[in-house]
Amino acid sequence: MKFKNIAAALLVPLNALLLFCLVVEGKLVIPAWLQVFGRMHPLVLHFPIVLVLLYAVLQLFSGKTMKQEGWYVVVEDVLLLSAAFTAAGTALMGLFLSKEPGYDADTVVLHKYLGAFTSFSLYGLYSFRGRLQQKALFSKLATSITAIVLLWAGHLGGNITHGNNFVFAPVTPDHKKPPVALEDAYVYNDLVQPILEAKCLQCHNDSKSKGDLVMKTKELLLKGGKDGKLWDTSQADLGLLMKRIHLPAEDKEHMPPDGKPQLTDQEIATLYAWIKTGASFDRKVMELPETDTLRTLATKVLKQSTDEQFDFAPVSDKEISKLNNNNRVIAPIALGSPALAVTFYNKPFFNSNALEELKSIGNNITELNLDNMPVKDEDLKTIGTFTNLRKLVLNNSDITGNTLGECKNLANIKTISLSGTAVKAGQLAALQSLPKLKHVYLWNTGVNDADAAKLQQKGNNIAWFTGFKGDTVIMKLTTPILQNEQTVIAKPVKLMLKNYIKGATIRYTTDGKDPDSLASPVYDSSIVISKDETVKAKAFKPGWISSDIVEGHFFMSGIMPDSAVLLTPADPKYRAIGGKTLIDLDKSDLNFGNGKWLGYRDNDMQALLLFNHPVKAQSITFSALMNVSSYIFPPTRVDIWGGADQQHLTLLGTITPQQPGKEMTNAQNLSLKLSFAPVELKCIKFLAVPVHTIPAWHAGKGEKAWVFMDEVFVN
């Protein structure tokens, strides 16, 4: 009872203090210790809310008989008193708290008065509770009003701490404007205006034009406020607007004022750059030079918004899977997107019907790819109904362009690809009226660069691409390819030459001379090689530079040694198949690592070629490899002996191959030949010596070089 009395007694001073503070609010200075008290507002406020609601429920819903009972009267009394007491305290605390900066002024003002009203009204209800008991209806009404005001105040309080519409935000549909793509954006509409709307318009609008300034329209912005025009680019500080923005936050003139949401650095930079460049109202972002500050800022703000939002309803997965098959692939452009991309594959399976079946999902198709499909002119009628199309690919289709007018309803289309079709320049006028069309691809069509330039001149934003023609480019033909796999031959073979360029003629020689475009014979597939021969071939085609020469050596296998023995072992990495490598008739290509070469580096190569029966020989030819960048050089010399057996050999001669010079050459096959007077023999021995010190011009200066050997032919 004591507490009850004290609380009741305190109600008067508390409410009086509250009233007083409200009246002199502008002059209040809150000391730090009282700020602590004020900051307990968000904690304490829950008491009056609960108590008032509890009291209101009792008041409104309990029956008459219950209201007569003793305990009820006590409970009701205590409830109302504690509600009134805590409400007064909460309101006072709130008032102190509101003096701190950082709250949205408008909401706080209303919240403050509603809170004070709640406290006063509860005090009234408590003071007159005795008399009110007689007037049940009036009592109920007063309680309801108090409760409603309290809830309203509470709701505003919530908004202050959590932001507007905190409770319902998750279920409130987003009414934000769809984001503008960078290429469509205007400097004022999409960059400047959103800043003004968010940070300035709250005080400078039609109904509340502080400083006689309204910032809503171009005209009103240009007019300025009571202090004059908003900007003046002849001034160093760019005039009033920028000056006020740049003032220190505690300055009275600073805008937006203390307590209001402030401009971010990026927003300030945007406004500054906009005014500095003349405050244009109808310029597009893309019209600015690429290095322009404003454009750079714009790419930051608008970058992520280039993803288009689609507002049409999705079609069911069932419908999509019904229409989906291996040759007509339909898929949402991303998870959860209602937009569909449709692509057709496999020419033989396409027909007009396959396209018409899409009508049930036509509204959702944003991309349609008919590349290489036999689309007919009349099919464009179907396509023309897919009004949400953004991209249409008709490359290499059968359309002639006569029905491009059917696209007139494609109000959203941005890109049309017509490359490789029969469209002509005159027919493209039909596309020029499409409002969002940006790119038209016309490579390999009847449209030439002059036509495209003419279309371009007609303005609007469409870019017409004609692509690469190449008719003035002169190129060199590829070198013919010698396709004979066997160049060591035992019997006559057909010469197989090929050039991949259509319409190229191959001419060849067998006399070692370079092929000539007129004199040399033209190659055809009936040419036969039947002896040791060097073939040179070259390709020719009008309008092209003639090719490099391909050279091939054919060897008649001649006298075959019956066995070959290596007297010194090859390097373990390049052992091939041992001595047999020399006489297996498998002549290796340039790849030194293919296991068909015998490689020597640390020691000289010594080998024997043995014949079961005496043979008459007059020449010997070695195949060696030169690949200077891989340290493979020709041998410094090859000594060759012949005789009846290993013990009875005479020197037949020495080959000293030419060593490569500083001007690096590509890897090549060498053919090292020694001719001698005809001699009868059963055994040939040879010694090949690797280069011992690589010359100074080479990266491996001073190191040992490799010798690589393959087939040996005896004739």
């Binding site: 692939v329 898929a331 691409f465 690469f468 033909l477 991949y500 011009w697 491996g700």
Partner: protein
Amino acid sequence: MQKEMLEHGLSHNRRRFLSKMSMGLGSVALGSLLIPDLFGKSAEEAVITGLPHFAPKAKRIIYLFQNGAPSQLDLFDYKPLLQKMQGQDLPASIRQGQRLTGMTATQEHFPLAGTVFQFGEYGQARAHISELLPHTASVVDDLCIIKSMYTEAINHDPALTFFQTGAQVGNRPSMGSWLSYGLGSENKNLPAFCVLLSKGKGNGQGVYAKLWSNGFLDSIHQGVQFSSGENPVLYLNNPDGMNKADRRKMLDKLGELNELSFKEFEDPEIHAKVQQYEMAYRMQTAVPEITDTSKEPESIVKLYGPDCLVPGTFAANCLLARKLSENGVRFVQLYHQGWDAHGDLPNQIKGQCLDVDQASAALITDLKQRGLLDETLVIWGGEFGRTNYCQGKLTKDSYGRDHHPRSFTIWMAGGGVKPGVYGETDDFGYNIAKNPVHVHDFHATALALMGLDHEKLTFRSQGRRYRLTDVAGKVVKDLIA
């Protein structure tokens, strides 16, 4: 009292217990609605694959991998200081104790080697490009040149594996496999991931099938290597005496047998195998038309260069890549070998550039003139860069360069990347001065361009979830238009 006790006892009968229990269970069930992952449905099972997570900029990737590591200092990263300091030792303050390969670690000196090639400035970005790449320079306004790439590996195989799979060790899924897994194939008649190989005359390094492995993903996501010969897909045609109907019948019967086998063993790879048979069957129709380059107009031959008709060349692979990509192949991976110029660099790089320059630029022009560049991401680059100092002997006109993972240049084009030059190296071209891009960042960005969140594209294997970007990588937003 007794009666009350009795009543109390009765009020706790079995029926009551059960009904109360069910109420309790009911409320638990209600609560469980708020926990989608309850009852063992773990997060990775919620990975939805087959569609982009958000609207993609690019639908397909063509990756022109320059295997062996092209020298950024002779192609893109112009450093006049190196020419000025030609032959002087690389300052220790720049090298900062960076580890070296076994090939130059024993070198006593690290003489700086300036490029012997001329550079020009091209395009709106005034990008430096070497005289070796005139065609690339002509399409520079479509290129996003990243000069600040860096990697962790210093030797070819781990670096290549890292670039392709996001890990230096093998057996992780390749980038193309991840995309196939995440996005599915566009064209069901072709593999989603194709691999094309070519080789230049320069010093080469091998590429191995592990680079296009599906790792722990389903084997349908494995890269399909095309042959470099005249028939890019071997054994595709029916043998003599077998017609399409017979083949169909055979596949149906085989499918039934496989289904029996699946019922017995429940190995999902059996289904993958059946799918591959079916795909091969469909490829019999689709592939011959796509790989036939004989119908390409002469302007295309001149655009890519005449080599594009010679099977197995880089140019031919670029042309084939465009045709595959145009037909909905998600990821076409090219490898061009021969960039590993430890010695004789000026000579070797000339040949390599002749191989790739025209065709790389042609691919961009060609995609553009078909309206496909917007939705196709082209990537060009090696596994690391090359050193600013000379390996071996430095002469007036010849030098070699060792491996350099700390900074190198790659470029991307189309597919929603922002053209321009990104990142910088220091004046020595050794360390990154601005905006470093790690391999994981590159992967994250490429996936983002394809509409995939690299943190959400996961697969559970051996008890943990894996991503292409492992546990790192951030999307480099500034590279995205």
